[in-house]
């Protein structure tokens, strides 16, 4: 059974407006960004959209801009750019950690931030990062632009809040401040695989090491990307002792509801949510305390 996609009609969009228009008009259409998840799914016959709207030639969707209130990441920003960016490496270690662990360098050359987020697989890494960083998702649709909170964005596996004629154009990450630090830890069967479990942690601590704010996002810990909200609210206002981290990791574990599959049994994955949450928080704390 040759692994070959079903036929589809193909269009290149040259602007966001044009893309939205096409998505709105064409029957059963799907956005083609980096294509690194979509094309394999089409080859395997999991997805057979009737038309593809290629957004790769839309100018000015590939950017990292921290000149304003937040770090703005254009939806077409390639993962490899996040890996290579000094700004990201220095100020947004959580994003940097995650980017470097997505698939492999060749996939990262094409894969995009927006695509990884919109694919919304439980095993994709950037949704957890967006959840941990309380990102805002900027979408354009026929009736204009709207801004969605990451915590509402991920509805189900492979399903986001975006309408079929909406295009994600930008992700906004709260600007890094003194006392912020983050880390992404991912347990994999082998490099580049989907996570057995991944934990994204973002912290802000004050001069005394007390947690001002925290975000924890989990990869492969449920049927969709999830936020460890209980652990988050428990941590705020506390000094991050080992005991506190233990309790937070247990809460994160209790939030998780992973599936058993070839990557491991559910009970192992649950235990790993705990182990990795502890380690990710610890590393994030170290980075937050180490200045930026």
């Amino acid at each position: 059974m040759f692994v070959i996609p079903d036929r589809f009609s193909y269009t290149v969009a040259h602007s966001v407006e044009e893309a939205v228009e096409l998505l709105h008009t064409l029957e059963d259409s799907k956005v083609l960004a980096g294509g690194q998840s979509l094309i394999p799914f089409m080859k395997l016959g999991y997805a057979s959209p009737k038309s593809l709207v290629d957004i790769n030639r839309i100018p000015n969707l590939d950017y990292l801009d921290d000149s304003g209130e937040s770090l703005k990441i254009g939806a077409l920003t390639r993962i490899s750019r996040l890996c290579d960016s000094e700004l990201v490496a220095k100020d947004y270690p959580l994003i940097h950690d995650a980017a470097l662990q997505i698939a492999d360098p060749l996939v990262r050359n094409l894969g995009t931030f927006g695509g990884n987020v919109c694919h919304a697989d439980m095993g994709d890494d950037l949704p957890a990062v967006c959840l941990a960083m309380n990102a805002e998702m900027v979408a354009s649709g026929p009736s204009g632009q709207r801004v969605l909170a990451a915590k509402d964005f991920f509805v189900d596996r492979f399903t986001t809040l975006l309408a079929s004629d909406e295009l994600l154009t930008e992700v906004r990450i709260p600007k890094n401040r003194r006392g912020c630090g983050g880390a992404y830890l991912k347990l994999e069967r082998r490099v580049g695989d989907y996570a057995i479990v991944g934990v994204a942690a973002q912290l802000e601590v004050d001069g005394d090491g007390v947690c001002r704010s925290v975000g924890i996002g989990l990869t492969s810990a449920s049927t969709k990307p999830i936020k460890a909200s209980e652990a988050e609210s428990w941590l705020v206002g506390k000094s991050l002792s080992d005991e506190v981290l233990d309790k937070a990791s247990t809460l994160a574990m209790n939030t998780s509801n992973p599936l058993s599959d070839i990557r491991g049994p559910a009970e192992y994955k649950k235990a790993m949510v705990k182990v990795l949450t502890h380690r990710a928080l610890k590393l994030a704390y170290k980075r937050a305390r180490g200045g930026l």
């Binding site: 040759f2 692994v3 395997l44 347990l187 490099v191 192992y268 235990a271 182990v275 502890h278």
Partner: protein
């Protein structure tokens, strides 16, 4: 005197001749072949592991754009091609007519103008299945009342095989002070060559000649069997094995794709290409291992090992297709006494049919030696721990000593040569064994888990001597045909087929060594049945022991004749002519000489009266014995008590494959084999659920190691030549895959032994280790 040219003979680490085309993309693999008018074959495959076929409707597919033929099992039946013989005397389905017996089995062949059109039409074939109960566990398959996979056999029992002396072994077990036993499962794995299987078949109806370019490790055997089945005269069938992207045993087999492609070419009159996708290849081609065993070892209190026994069940899938020599239904598993001087041993194996594709391939393993080495090396380690003797010390105490070679094992094998203690001591020294044990002691006190694992394996390769070895009755000789052209350039052809082993270089080096002709002047060809001498192909590390020997002997035959010509040219008596690599000279007058090139020219222009012209030789080499490469591997692992991950910190491999032809290539073979062993130990597994769904059907699910996980191998060698091989060489292609898995497992178990862990089945997934840590109260939550 002229300069003797650099010829790159035995022992030269010369870079490979064949690489010139590979590094420039000028290679020719099967999928690179394109013939005028070529069409593509694709298959409808069964989602069910076991189901009766109620009906097949091909009408919609036949009417689809670009479709030129649709072929079902019913179409093959009148040709007698719906079933074909396997290499083990069983038969296998090509396309089913009654029922399917494993998931992703080929059901209907669809031939179309392009691969895209074929893929589209495949979706239009409608097959109505009636699901049948599935059996994927070989032990359950052998139980009463289990679903019967093969109705023609009326039982799932394939064979019962025994070797060794049951009574003597049982007696020693009764007398022993200490007996250790362990149930172990050597999981099912896929060889995962990078190039999936495929062929291009073209039947020339005018000449009546089928030509098939095919990913095969043994083209001559394919030709003979094809001729016997189809009654097409063997001289009209041409099998060409072009560049092969890795084989490792998986390409010894003939798969339904090739048969259907050949039939499709006859039906359509056009060349037909079939190439598996990876997601087709993993679930439908042959597998390795899948072997459940109970192994036991008996010893005296002082650590003297006495006897070994194994009772096992092996899974062969739906067809018994092992590429084994006919006398060995379970391969050479009886090498299982390994490197140790035991008093007795006994093994018994029952084979079972299950709803899986055929299994039992000799995956980089000389016919089940991998399972045998794993069994004994695990048990020796368990015994050492039980007795409180260091695993290295217990091995050194029980190795067959060098002075006992040639050594007849209790299983009847005669080991040619060996110095096992030499290899182990070298490995211990290189890795700093004593220091590591001290470090381990320290770490244990701190609650850290570190393990050291040893494997001291003995291989058995070079199948094989004609009195014992044949495949379907064909003796397992090695063949070489060498022709020297008038200008002293050489073409040499062999009955083997390289799949990356570097034959074009190593064979040239052997001939260079024997004839003094530089390797640049030697062209090596393999894989075309129209031109190559008959041979059994390349697998089970047999090329150097058999065809390599044939190259040496054929070269020596040429030298004999060349000497006569040289004597004629030098106007000397033959007995006064002395050979020195590359030239003949008159005894006592080295300045008076003729180079091999001058002699070659004379063979066509000025040969002695009465002598036949030309300078060439053919040799079919019948090895007097197998060769027995060996080695000692030591592995160090550190275990993360939180995640259960075991990280290989160091791995030292000391191999002994006798005399070395090309050290670069030997090193490469060892690195590759170690990496496969590493994959087996830590991440590779083809699993099935109770419904017969396969897990590990492609490279997304089936993980083979990347450069990131693969340890940085540290290799070294000892050299103990084979006394009976013309070059003293032994073969090395598989040693590392055979020897290394036990070292990895031994290392991990060594780390966990103080917690009361005696064994973990491969793959050593972190979750398995973590589960044990939890059971023993040793897991950390951070």
């Amino acid at each position: 005197m002229t300069e003797v040219p650099v010829i790159h003979g035995m022992g030269s680490a010369v870079k490979r001749k064949e690489d010139v085309r590979f590094i420039q993309g000028r290679d020719t693999y099967v999928d690179d072949i394109s013939l005028p008018g070529m069409v593509y074959l694709d298959f409808v495959r069964s989602p069910y592991a076991h189901a009766r076929i109620r009906s097949i409707s091909t009408e919609r597919a036949k009417g689809a754009p670009g479709v030129v033929a649709v072929i079902t099992g019913k179409d093959l039946q009148p040709l007698g091609l719906d079933w074909i013989p396997t290499l083990s005397g069983d038969k296998m389905m090509v396309l089913p007519t009654e029922k399917v017996v494993f998931q992703m089995q080929e059901v209907v062949g669809v031939v179309a103008e392009s691969r895209y059109a074929a893929a589209d039409a495949v979706k239009l074939v409608e097959v109505d299945y009636e699901p049948l109960p599935v059996v994927t566990d070989p032990k359950k398959a052998l139980e009463e009342g289990s679903p019967i996979v093969r109705e023609d056999k009326r039982t799932n029992h394939v064979f019962h095989w025994e070797a060794g002396d049951r009574e003597a072994t049982d007696r020693l077990f009764e007398q022993a002070d200490v007996v250790v036993g362990q149930d172990m499962y050597y999981q099912r794995i896929h060889v995962s060559y990078m190039e999936p299987c495929g062929c291009v078949a073209y039947y020339d109806s005018v000449k009546g000649t089928p030509t098939i370019w095919m990913t095969t490790q043994a083209p001559h055997v394919v030709r003979t069997v094809a001729s016997l089945i189809t009654k097409i005269p063997e001289n009209k069938i041409r099998i060409i094995s072009p560049d092969i992207g890795g084989g490792f045993g998986g390409k010894v087999y003939v798969y339904p794709g090739s048969i259907v492609a050949a039939v499709a070419s006859i039906v359509t009159g056009r060349p037909v290409k079939w190439v598996n996708d990876r997601s087709d290849d993993h679930p439908s081609t042959a597998f390795a291992r899948d072997f459940h065993m109970r192994a036991e070892l008996a010893a005296k209190r002082d650590g003297t090992l006495l006897a070994f026994r194994v009772k096992a069940v092996s899974d062969h899938g739906a067809f018994f297709g092992d590429a084994n020599p006919s006398k060995f239904p379970f391969g050479l598993f009886s090498i299982c006494t390994g490197s140790y001087d035991l008093k007795a041993a006994f093994v018994e194996v029952d084979g079972a049919y299950t709803n899986k594709p055929q299994g039992g391939i000799a995956y980089r393993c000389s016919f089940r030696v991998t399972e045998a080495v794993y069994a004994i090396e695990r048990l020796v380690d368990i015994m050492a721990h039980r007795l409180g003797i260091d695993p290295a010390e217990l091995r050194l105490k029980n190795f067959i000593p060098p002075e006992k070679f040639p050594y007849r094992s209790v299983m009847g094998w005669v080991y040619d040569s060996g110095n096992y203690a030499g290899a182990l001591r070298k490995a211990m020294e290189k890795i700093g064994y004593e220091e590591l044990r001290r470090e381990q002691e320290e770490k244990r006190k701190r609650g850290e888990l570190m393990g050291i694992g040893i494997s001291s394996f003995t291989e058995i390769v070079g199948a094989g001597p004609s009195h014992t070895f044949d495949i379907l009755g064909i003796k397992m000789f090695g063949s070489a045909e060498i022709r020297i052209h008038p200008t002293g350039k050489v073409i040499a052809r062999f009955g083997t087929r390289s799949q990356g082993q570097g034959h074009e270089t190593t064979y040239a080096q052997i001939i260079a060594e024997e004839l003094g002709i530089p390797i640049e002047d030697i062209t090596v060809e393999e894989g075309d049945t129209d031109t190559a001498p008959y041979g059994l192909g390349t697998y089970a590390s047999r090329s150097t022991p058999t065809a390599g020997a044939a190259a040496a002997v054929a070269s020596r035959k040429i030298r004999e004749k060349a000497k006569k010509i040289a004597a004629h040219l030098l106007e000397a008596r033959e007995e006064d002519v002395v050979w020195e690599r590359g030239r003949f000279y008159v005894k006592g007058a080295p300045a008076k000489y003729k180079t091999i090139q001058e002699v070659a020219f004379a063979a066509y222009t000025n040969h002695p009266p009465g002598m036949e012209a030309g300078l060439e030789a053919v040799h079919y080499y019948d090895p007097p014995n197998m060769t027995f490469p060996f080695g000692s591997y030591i592995c160090v692992v550190d275990i993360d008590r939180g995640t259960g991950e075991a990280k290989v910190r160091r791995f030292v491999a000391v191999d002994d494959c006798g005399n070395i032809i090309n050290p670069l290539i030997v090193d490469g073979q060892i690195h590759g084999g170690l990496t496969m062993g590493f994959g087996t130990a830590f991440m590779e597994e083809i699993g099935y659920d109770q419904d017969g769904n396969i897990y590990g059907a492609n490279f997304m699910d089936y993980t083979i190691p990347t450069a990131v996980e693969t340890p940085k191998w540290e290799t070294d060698k000892t050299v103990t030549p084979s006394p009976h091989h013309p070059l003293g060489a032994k073969g090395v292609g598989e040693s590392a895959t055979v020897g290394s898995p036990a070292a990895f497992v031994n290392a991990v178990v060594d780390a966990l032994w103080p917690l009361g862990v005696t064994h973990i089945d491969m793959p050593l997934y972190p979750w398995k280790i973590r589960r044990l840590l939890e059971e023993k109260g040793y897991a950390l939550d951070k």
